[in-house]
């Protein structure tokens, strides 16, 4: 809903002739012996919201700080809008950043904080006032001009930090965990506001986050980082539905991962046997892997159906088990089903009916799990 429509106009990365707006070329950053960012190359296009997603210590913030100019890359080059800015100090880059801590100047009121960037550029006082009011209206904080930062709530500070970063009309806005300090409701609300503002101003956003939901909501593309490397780049759908590795499958959402071996290898399908899953299974996409190689089958919990009776049809892609745990979450229920091999499968079902109608599954019920052959993904690493 919130993501840009998948038409050609919004997918410049698919156009080989498109010029990237930000180009990172073999960037490496070492702190002593520790490699924070390891040989990252990345193209970001004009108007994108690119999310760098990763756990703590994955190097995502270091990568962002190199784009802002706070860290000098040990190796590699950074190009912004066709200019090599690798050695350019932060105060000369056409880039603004919104800090995780917001970094509002505590001795200046809202007006002075927001105007700070324009003051550095010798803009006339009249124009400064006008532009400050415009940007404060955009973030709906125009009635707070005289407040000091310590008189604002977390959400209000976040808006002021955003306004301050946007006032110089940067072509590229870097956001470091922009919503991490907000509570869940406010965070969801602000996500859509950020999208709205980005749409209005046409700024290119690079967002660092550890929150996969945030990345899924905001991003045109996501770069998943691990140990200083980008392990996969793709649209939120790509990343979720076609993870390229066990790490990505496991990091984004929850997943059931099973070790297996390819026994039939055809261009449009493969058959995988898995002792953990107890049988052989039909996967509806081709895999480039050596025959008999060890692979992993990733199966999302919401793509599995539970039933009391054995489902009709041919014998593929179904397995029997016993319900070991039930967790009621309101919008959905989570079931842990123990298979004959001892492995547990995680299954989620939306609660389309009110609970208590007797047909739900309970502890120790024998159930059948089944899934469509297009649902599982086979990953080789």
């Amino acid at each position: 809903m919130a993501n840009p429509r998948p038409d050609q106009k919004n997918e410049p990365w698919k156009d080989p002739g498109a010029q990237p707006y930000v180009r990172l070329e073999k960037l490496t950053k070492k702190f002593g012996d520790f490699v924070a960012v390891d040989d990252v190359s990345l193209n970001i296009y004009r108007g994108e919201i690119f999310c760098l997603l990763g756990g703590s210590g994955s190097g995502k913030t270091t990568l962002l700080r190199m784009m802002a100019g706070f860290e000098r890359p040990t190796e590699g080059r950074i190009w912004i809008d066709g200019t090599d800015v690798t050695g350019t100090p932060p105060y000369e880059r056409p880039v603004n950043m919104m800090f995780q801590s917001y970094a509002l100047f505590p001795h200046m009121n809202v007006q002075k904080n927001v105007a700070f960037g324009l003051r550095q550029d010798k803009v006339s006082a009249g124009e400064i006032d006008e532009r400050v009011m415009d940007i404060l209206k955009l973030v709906r904080m125009e009635s707070f001009v005289k407040r000091m930062p310590h008189q604002l709530s977390g959400g209000q500070r976040q808006r002021i930090a955003l306004a301050r970063a946007l006032i110089k009309r940067p072509k590229l806005l870097l956001l470091d965990e922009p919503l991490a300090a907000l509570d869940k409701k406010l965070r969801e609300h602000t996500q859509f506001e950020l999208l709205n503002i980005q749409d209005k101003l046409g700024v290119t956003f690079v967002v660092v986050t550890h929150d996969q939901e945030e990345a899924m909501t905001l991003a045109s593309r996501i770069g998943v980082m691990n140990h200083g490397e980008i392990v996969q780049i793709g649209t939120p759908t790509d990343i979720y539905e076609y993870p390229g590795s066990r790490f990505v499958a496991d990091f984004i959402g929850s997943v059931n991962l099973f070790e297996g071996r390819i026994v039939e290898d055809e261009p449009d399908y493969v058959r995988v046997t898995s002792d953990e899953l107890g049988g052989s299974f039909h996967v509806g996409h081709g895999v480039s892997a050596a025959p008999d190689a060890i692979v992993w089958v990733a199966l999302r919990p919401e793509k599995i159906l539970l039933s009391r009776e054995r489902p009709d049809g041919d014998g593929d892609n179904r397995v029997e088990g016993v319900v070991a745990e039930v967790a009621y979450r309101g919008d959905q229920s989570i079931f842990l089903v123990k298979l004959a091999s001892g492995r547990q499968m995680r299954v989620t079902m939306p609660n389309t009916l009110r609970q208590g109608d007797g047909d739900r599954f309970r502890w120790d019920d024998r159930v059948w799990l089944s899934w469509d052959s297009s649902s599982p993904v086979v990953v080789t690493q």
Binding site: P106, H150, K168
Partner: protein, 330 residues
Amino acid sequence: MQGGGPRGKPFLLGELLAWIRAHGPWRWASAELSARGYSGRTLVTAVPYLWLLLFFLVPFLIVLKISVSEIRLAMPPYEPLFTWISDNVVGLRINFENYAFLLKDSLYWKSFLNSISTAAISTVICLLIGYPMAYGIARSPAGWRNLLLLLVMLPFWTSFLLRVYAWIGILKNNGVINNVLMALGIVDEPIVMLQTNFAMYIGIVYSYLPFMVLPLYTAVEKLDNSLLEAAADLGCRPVKAFFRITVPLTKAGIIAGCMLVFIPAVGEFVIPALLGGPDALMIGRVLWEEFFNNRDWPVASAVAIVMLFVLVIPIMIYQRSQGQQLGAHR
């Protein structure tokens, strides 16, 4: 044994301790106090007030009393404030001559002005040297900071007087500096440094620099580095960011450091006497001469009282800015 039977020794001991806990002096005192409407908190806060009352207010009142009495050749060398005129009439004599004398004789206000300007110049020099030091220490790797702070405080481990005498050894005509300069052939005759204003400033700045560095360090160390990054990100060059972000946000440290240097430097006696020239008229020296050479306790007390009020004004300014700081960060 099950935690001490009724006839066992542990029982007796435990009982005794319990009794002391229940009826001991602490419990008794706190019960008595709370019965009169005082809590333990009152007791604790009473300690500094008592200290100030005994060791500041009482001596201040004594000095104030002496300053409005008259000199006499006796022991103590001043007239009593109260005298028995007859059996049941007490006479009170207050004498403002001493204060009038301070105004009449230019020696006093000149030495006041000289002390204040010397202290002010020393404070500025301390700030100019101390700020980069404090900044450098606060921005050095975390492991180094404690060592560097220790080095700043290290001179306190030797006596203040010894350190001033060491400067005499360095600055005198056949001292370390002049010997080196003459040995290298840079100068033929020793440069006269001792007993000049130059030597006095060196002594004051050297002695009071740690008092400037420590509060500045605390202020700079607390400064969030992301604020400077934010300033740079918004197009502010480092030097400008220092004056627009770092200085305003370390103002409390700057004021504290300046007060800690300025206030004792105004009353400084030892350094001007040992390192300064004969024309270095400092109020501390005048005070010394009035007390010990002229034995004019009333005039000396009047000088002390005036000096106190000269110093109270900057302290009050400091207090007010501290109050504002507290208000701003609440």
